[in-house]
Symmetry: C2
Subunit: 436 residues, 2 copies
């Protein structure tokens, strides 16, 4: 540590993918050369870059770097020590270049949540077999150093729960719906026009992107193989302004909330819309900001909040990994060697929780009795119930119910009975309530 | 990383200080031996311990560890690789043992904010001269991994500002005053009875303890030598329930807030009561919880929140450092080599900010004109002013003023003029407003 920065050889990066994040990384390396060298004890350099279009203006001068059309060739260059993979996509060039780098024993830093959520176990094992590191701070919650907090900062803890809002676009949509009284479709179209959505918007609003992130954190937290396929996923497409308003009346906000916890029944992983108390840190979260709540048996609850996307924040996270490598920090991708990760059993049922139910009942005598009987028969007890005025349709009686803690399965059972008995005039809405 | 835990020699700890934190560390090492070994690739063991009283019941079995009466002897034992210093106190045995360990080239993990705030530059240089590391996650904001976030997670950033509430006792006192309408003295006595205060309560309520923490973060953030002596310190002793209520009426809460920022005029470091917006993350913070806000030029604002004290959280932070050492992570104490830290120039004046002023004016004609003239002459312009009813003393006219952004010095100038002119019936109250 008392070495001067000039006494160690530079760490030479090959950057594959020159979108906003790639350009952001290049800007930091160019503008902060002295600062980065002072902090790591060695110069950080870029040897070569790769992207689909060489001539595009990215607002950074890349003329000093070698160019490779093929990211695999980039990864294999003799003057590249670390592949910085910023292309995205679970397969294709991103995976090919990552595998090539790891096979050559080179370290890889990536922002690619989809690739790691789907191929992470295999890639981590490949890295470790060659003594390489594969790191992904930028893949989860943008600039928030949450991978580091979980893997290193809380390493003395048995993690009990991980929760969070990890898709800024969804939170932006829900916040605007609530604040401006707009419908989902209206805000979706506005967000799309602003370029906030992925080319395939389902990745955002379907909860897939956020689910990828949660699956990675769960692997670290619980020492289990990444198991994205076992995640319960539900998007925000069916959230209405009506439900947002009812939730607000009862002191809640609707968030696309991820929760992962290890239970006696197996590993629970959910990325679904939930009601959270409006006064909780998660309930207070507005717009595109991300928040992750980590709970450990020693530390209690640690909450981290920051920008979940964008050039600067994501580049900041990429640099965190690069600088760790420059400092000589070597750590397993998911905190313990990939070969020792447990195969988790997905929980057959979620931990019981209160649920919000909005029912549109056929307005006939005896229907409410049928509904309460169906709930009772399924073992669902009612904490609060409210029938409220409906202006547009006199034949329908809308009812709001907050249940006592129960399983989604019990509620679905009751709803099936209600449906069969003809009590429901429209599709019911069920949203879990999380006290986090 | 593909090594099994048995293939590397154990990391052997010597623990000096067996208070609640020391006992907490021992419990984790005992109960989580397999987990810690899996996460670091080597067993974590305790070789020896030291404390003032060997026979005290601490709720942990220490019979398997060697005992040393003298912490310096503990540090020098052949079977101790890392000194875990949990005795506290800026000088005395804590410093002696730390120096002995570092001189022998051994790593030191400490929770001792006072020692580092006062002797940190010198100790870090001693560590680095011997190739040892000296780490202190537990010294700042308890279980929140903020030292790691700043030193590593945000290492690609130029840090622009660090702010936070870092003394749980002060926040507890202020929260109870507000929520229960109690006086400072009433809550102070209650907190004291509960054992929440240091033996010398000034460390807490005078802002010294929190100031120590901020000085350490500022050193990392700005690459400057620790300069606790240059910090502007003001405690919460003079905060009244009246000011808390007036602040609440205007949408603010009073917090003991630390702010460090590098300006063109030098390094600002303040730990003083401030008004913060009630809706901001800091404004929402209640009771003994800590919160640190880190602002970087790339990442924007990252907020971290968690328990700032207590056995589990503090032990969690100690373990974070111990496990980093076990993993072979070697880093300078303040993020860059101590010999390269800049000597900061303390800012001669704070960045201008709005201020809250509560004046008790002599109730005579012309007095208000004198007050506004004094402010105007000092260059202080008024954003809002309110004269309000006073029930207990008809000869005094209480006035609340919120100024436009200005310096404390300008306000003090104006107050001196008011005092000299006999306008003030009682000591004025001035509190800075921070929009953080």
């Amino acid at each position: 540590m008392s070495d001067t920065s000039s006494s160690k050889p530079p760490l030479r990066l090959g950057i594959a993918g020159l979108g906003t994040v790639g350009a952001g990384v290049i800007k930091i390396v160019q503008r902060k050369a002295n600062l980065l060298a002072a902090r790591t004890g060695r110069p950080i350099e870029i040897s070569a870059v790769s992207a689909r279009n060489r001539d595009k203006d990215r607002g950074v001068d890349i003329s000093a770097y070698a160019w490779e059309d093929d990211p695999v060739a980039l990864a294999l260059r003799d003057d590249v020590d670390v592949l910085v993979e910023l292309m995205g996509g679970a397969d294709g060039p991103a995976k090919a270049a990552t595998e090539a780098a790891l096979a050559a024993g080179k370290d890889v830093v990536t922002a690619n949540k989809a690739m790691l959520a789907i191929h992470g176990n295999e890639l981590a094992a490949k890295a470790e077999a060659k003594g390489a590191v594969l790191r992904f701070e930028a893949a989860v919650a943008g600039g928030i150093p949450v991978v580091k907090a979980l893997t290193e900062g809380l390493a003395g803890n048995r993690i009990t729960r991980i929760a969070g809002v990890m898709n800024g676009t969804c939170n932006y949509i829900l916040t605007r719906m609530e604040n401006e009284g707009l419908t989902y479709d209206e805000v979706f179209d506005a967000a799309n026009a602003l370029g906030y959505l992925e080319a395939d918007p389902t990745l955002d609003v379907g909860g897939i992107d956020a689910g990828h992130k949660l699956a990675l954190l769960a692997s670290i937290g619980f020492g289990t193989r990444v198991a994205f396929d076992d995640m319960v996923l539900e998007g925000i497409e069916r959230i209405t302004i009506e439900d947002i308003n009812h939730a607000a009346d009862m002191g809640y906000r609707i968030k696309l909330l991820g929760v992962a916890q290890m239970t006696g029944r197996g590993l629970e992983q959910r990325m679904t819309p939930c009601l959270v108390p409006v006064k909780s840190p998660l309930g207070q979260l507005e717009n595109a900001t991300n928040m992750v709540v980590l709970e450990g048996d020693e530390v209690g609850q640690v909450v981290l909040r920051g920008a979940g996307a964008g050039e600067g924040p994501t580049a900041s996270a990429v640099l965190s990994d690069v600088l760790d490598i420059a400092r000589g920090f070597r750590i397993s991708t998911f905190g313990v060697p990939a070969t020792t990760l447990d195969s988790s059993t997905p929980a057959v049922a979620s931990t019981p929780a209160p649920h919000y139910l909005r029912l549109s009942l056929v307005d006939k005598p005896g229907v409410l009795a049928k509904v309460t009987a169906a709930l009772g028969d399924a073992g669902v007890s009612i904490d609060r119930m409210r029938q409220y005025g409906q202006h547009d349709n006199p034949d329908v009686a809308p009812v709001l119910i907050v249940t006592d803690p129960t399983s989604r399965r019990a509620i679905d059972e009751a709803l099936t009975v209600m449906e069969t008995s003809g009590a429901l005039a429209a599709q019911p809405v069920t949203i879990r309530i999380e006290d986090v």
